[in-house]
Structure formats: structure tokens, C-alpha cells
């Protein structure tokens, strides 16, 4: 296994991908549910804000591409899951602040 390939690095790469509508990265938006590493295989469980999200295909493909370009990565598996369904409660504090949602 490549020593530089860590779960933290995968999260950092995922945090560079922006949702086009809200200008927030997909980690702060709460779309990434899980990241696991096994040797050079990266597995990500992610969702979308809704099953009809128009940018869904682009974001899902972008996650796949971003991870494939990481040094030391062999196999990438991006699972799109709908359970649990995304809710605004999954927004991070930074995302809430960006949106002006102070509740």
C-alpha cells in the first residue's frame, strides 16, 4: 500500500469538488457518507441532495475522476446510495454559515 494514500487525503481531494448551485464543496454539503481504503482500492459512499439532482451525473463522475488521479490509487469504487436520504441536517457548520442558515 502506498504510504501517502490515507483516508484523510481522500477526504481532502473530495473537498476540492464544488456543487455548482451552492458553491459549496461536496464534503461540507454532506454528500460523502463514507470513505474506506484497502490496499490501493478506494471506496466512497456518496449521495446527492435528491435523486433528481440535475448535476448528479457530473458530481458522481467528478468524484470518480478525482480519485483515479490520486497517486497510489489502483481501483476506485464510488457507490451512490439513497439511504439514508440526504437532508440539510448533514450540512457542516461551515456550509450553514456560507448559506446564511443560522438556525
Amino acid at each position: 500500500m502506498n504510504e501517502s494514500l490515507t483516508v484523510e487525503r481522500v477526504w481532502s481531494v473530495l473537498a476540492t469538488i464544488l456543487d455548482p448551485e451552492f458553491g459549496l464543496n461536496i464534503v461540507d454539503l454532506g454528500l460523502i457518507y463514507d470513505v474506506t481504503l484497502a490496499d490501493d482500492e478506494v471506496r466512497v459512499a456518496m449521495t446527492l441532495t435528491s435523486p433528481g439532482c440535475p448535476a448528479g451525473e457530473m458530481i458522481h463522475g467528478g468524484v470518480q475522476r478525482a480519485l483515479e488521479e490520486m497517486p497510489g490509487v489502483g481501483t476506485v469504487c464510488v457507490d451512490l446510495v439513497w439511504e439514508p436520504a440526504w437532508t440539510p441536517a448533514m450540512l457542516t457548520a461551515a456550509a450553514r454559515e456560507h448559506l446564511g442558515w443560522t438556525e
Partner: protein, 455 residues
């Protein structure tokens, strides 16, 4: 990286879900939404560009001859101008939006690329034939142009019917698209028949009454039904708000459809009680829609009110005012100036503001998906909102509101100075909006290159 992301990292590295962190994912069907772009966004963008060009022609025509709106509303030039706005601009844009939005909302793959392009060609040719024919009162040519437009609408109807038949998510919002398309079919059929009858003199009809019915079929049946349905998907999508169930939306839509079914025949037959009953049902449906929209708005997480949404809500407000004015008009039969002010308020203040407000959101999104979507994950990409000019869009909202108010007041008073001021304010607003949309479109040819340091 912020603290919350770090908390997420910690949660994952412990491989156990922490409170407030990412939840544990359960096995789900790894199925993506359908491809989001209708023919790579070229179809909706082509419809929108054609519609915006027609709107620019209408705006320029009105700015050069604002006194036109002091003429009776059945004057050939006024009818020609109305068709530039309604058929040339608004209907073209809305057809593009339907081709794009409906398959996405229904999660059905877009099909019928060739039919959509044929529709655009038929529609553009039909409108180009109809408008000069209206202005010179050559009703045979109007009917011929109308048949081209109608053929295009048939193609659209087939596309809509296919999507609705294929979807597994049929709800009142999707049904609103179907209902709006059905009203559109009836509107163009009535329009073509009326023009042909005026040309050939087949049978005697009250032309004014049928014209009123035709206008309400188009504006109320197509545009208002479409807006009433689509807003409950678009507003939550753009504000991160929540629509909790579609039952109340369904009730509001049912009321508007029933109101139209009562109103339109009553207008055509000149039955005042029927007109009042239909108007009351429509007004009730507007109140229900406003109530439900307020609930969605209260749940929004994106707090800032962007210019596009401001324009959209301005349009909805103007449609509400127009509904009140229209109801009052039934008591002032024959007041042609008030009728024209009503039309200006509904079409320019209402439908145009609402549709163009949504353009401020939809066009950047389409361009983003076409240009930047394939680059996600390879390079930093901008937010869709960064493609246009919020300053120009804010100016558009103010100028459009001022223009619509001045035009409506000028039409009501028959005052040409007010009309001129309104026409120029409207033109300035359209130039502002056009500047922002042009800035967005420029990304199609000159994409923004962002480095990893400034995403």
C-alpha cells in the same frame, strides 16, 4: 479545511458514525439520475436564445413605438406585438425549459432530439410568418404561420406525453407540465381556427369574446399552469428548501384547472357569472399556491434572495395583481384601456418577469453543466452563479418592475409619455439581463481556467 470536515475525517477514521458526522450508509441501488442535459444542453439553449432574440425584437419595437399601447388591444399592431412576446419570446423559452426540465424531474431519459429541433424550426418559421401578417391584418397568412406553430406544439405534446407515460414518479407537479401542454394545444388550435375563420368567413362569431378566451387559454392555461407546477420543484432546488408532500400543490393545481375550465368557455360565450366563478376559482388557487410557496420558502437554507428569484417572485406578484384587476374588469365591460393594462401587467409584469427570473438560474446551470461538468474532478470549477453578473441581474429586476408598472399605468391612462418611459425602462432592463446572459454564454467558447489555489 474547516473544523467540521476534520470532524468528518475523524468520524470516518474511527469507522463509526459520530453524532453530527456522516451517517453510516446502507446498501442502496447505485443508480444515477438520468443524463441531465437534453442533447448536451444545445436544445434548451437554442430555444432560449431564439426566445430571447424575439424578446429583444419586441422590446425594440415597443421602445421605438410606445404609443402602440395607447391603441385598442385588438389593433393589428398590438396583437402582433403580443404574439412577439407570447409566442416568439415566452413560449419559445418555456418549450426549451420543458425539453430540459421535464425528463430530469421525471427521471426519464431525454428522447426525441430530432423532433425537438424540428419543433424549433417550425416554431421560428411560424412566428416569423405570423407577426408581420398580424401587423398588416392578413389573416390567411396568420393562419398559415399558426399551423406551423401548431405542428411544433404537436411535437412537443408527443415528447411530454412520452415522458409522463414512462415515469414512475407521476405527481401533481409533473401533471402540471402535461396540463399546460394540453392547454397550449387547445390555444393554438383556437388561434388558427379564429384566424382561418376571419380569412374565409366560415361562420359568425363574437371575435372579441373568442380572442379573450384564446388569450386566457394561453396565458392562464399554459404559462400559469406551468409556473404553478414548476415553481414547486425549482424554488426548493435553488434554495435548499423542502416541499413536504405534493397534496396541497395538487389541490391548488386542481383549483386552477377547474377555474380555467369554467373561465375560458364563459369568456368565449360572454357569460359574466361564469367568468366571475372561474376567476374566483383561479384566485383561490393562487392563494393556495402562495400559501404553499410560503411554507417552502420558510424551510429554505440558502437565505440570500438572488436577483433571479427576486424577478421570479416579482412576476408571481404581478400575476396576482393581474388576477385581481381581471376580476374587476368583468364589472367594467368594454373598458379597452383597462383591458390593455391588465394584459401588460399579466404578460410583461407577470409571466415575462417570472420566466426571465428563472432564466437567471437555468442558463448558468446549463452552461456550467455543458462546459464545466465534464471537468469536475480534473480541475477546479466555478459555481454556476459565478458565470453571470449579479449586478446586471439586480438592475434588470428594478428596471423591469419600473417598466412594467409605467407601461401598465400608461396603457390604463392612454398616456404616451408614461408609455415611452415604461418602454425605455423595460428596454434598459432587457439590455442588463442580456449582458448578464451574454457573459454566461461566453463560457461556452472561453471557459474560465481556475488553478487549485483559487477554486
Amino acid at each position: 479545511m474547516n473544523g467540521n470536515v476534520s470532524a468528518n475525517l475523524a468520524a470516518v477514521s474511527r469507522t463509526a458514525p459520530a453524532a453530527g458526522g456522516p451517517p453510516a450508509a446502507r446498501a442502496g441501488t447505485p443508480r444515477l439520475p438520468v443524463s441531465p442535459l437534453a442533447a448536451g444542453a444545445t436544445i434548451p439553449l437554442a430555444f432560449i436564445a431564439t426566445g430571447f432574440a424575439a424578446g429583444a425584437i419586441g422590446t425594440a419595437w415597443l421602445a421605438l413605438a410606445p404609443a402602440m399601447l395607447a391603441l385598442p388591444h385588438v389593433h393589428p399592431q398590438v396583437v402582433a406585438l403580443a404574439h412577439v412576446w407570447l409566442l416568439g419570446c415566452l413560449l419559445t423559452i418555456c418549450c426549451g425549459a420543458i425539453y430540459q426540465l421535464l425528463p430530469v424531474l421525471a427521471n426519464v431519459p431525454f428522447a426525441g432530439r430530432r423532433q425537438a429541433w424540428t419543433h424549433l424550426a417550425l416554431h421560428a418559421a411560424g412566428v416569423a410568418l405570423m407577426v408581420p401578417a398580424f401587423a398588416s391584418a392578413r389573416m390567411g397568412l396568420v393562419a398559415a404561420g399558426g399551423m406551423l406553430v401548431a405542428a411544433g406544439v404537436v411535437l412537443l405534446s408527443v415528447a411530454v406525453a412520452r415522458v409522463l407515460r414512462a415515469t414512475t414518479r407521476l405527481d401533481p407537479i409533473l401533471l402540471a407540465f402535461g396540463a399546460a401542454t394540453a392547454w397550449l394545444l387547445v390555444t393554438v388550435a383556437v388561434g388558427v381556427l379564429l384566424a382561418a375563420n376571419l380569412h374565409f368567413g366560415w361562420f359568425g362569431v363574437d371575435v372579441l369574446a373568442v380572442l379573450r378566451a384564446h388569450a386566457h387559454l394561453g396565458v392562464g392555461g399554459f404559462f400559469v399552469t406551468l409556473l404553478q407546477g414548476a415553481l414547486f420543484r425549482l424554488v426548493p432546488m435553488f434554495t435548499l428548501g423542502e416541499l413536504r408532500g405534493t397534496r396541497r400543490v395538487g389541490v391548488a393545481l386542481a383549483a386552477s384547472q377547474l377555474g380555467l375550465l369554467v373561465l375560458v368557455p364563459a369568456l368565449g360565450l360572454g357569460r359574466t357569472r361564469g367568468v366571475l366563478a372561474g376567476a374566483a376559482l383561479l384566485a383561490g388557487s393562487f392563494v393556495l399556491t402562495a400559501f404553499e410557496l410560503r411554507r417552502v420558502w420558510a424551510t429554505r437554507r440558502k437565505r440570500a434572495l438572488e436577483p433571479g428569484l427576486r424577478g421570479f417572485f416579482l412576476g408571481l406578484g404581478a400575476l396576482g395583481l393581474a388576477a385581481l384587476l381581471g376580476t374587476a374588469l368583468t364589472a367594467t365591460e368594454g373598458n379597452v384601456r383597462a383591458a390593455l393594462a391588465y394584459g401588460v401587467l399579466a404578460v410583461i409584469g407577470g409571466v415575462l418577469a417570472a420566466v426571465e427570473g428563472m432564466l437567471c438560474k437555468i442558463v448558468p446551470f446549463l452552461v456550467w453543466m455543458r462546459v464545466y461538468g465534464p471537468r469536475v474532478g480534473r480541475q477546479p470549477t466555478p459555481a454556476a452563479a459565478a458565470l453571470g453578473s449579479p449586478r446586471c441581474e439586480r438592475a434588470w429586476v428594478v428596471l423591469h418592475a419600473a417598466g412594467a408598472l409605467l407601461l401598465a399605468a400608461g396603457a390604463a391612462a392612454g398616456e404616451t409619455r408614461l408609455l415611452a418611459a415604461g418602454a425605455w425602462a423595460l428596454a434598459a432592463g432587457q439590455i442588463s439581463l442580456g449582458a448578464s446572459l451574454a457573459q454566461v454564454a461566453r463560457h461556452l467558447w472561453r471557459p474560465m481556467i481556475l488553478t487549485k489555489a483559487n477554486p
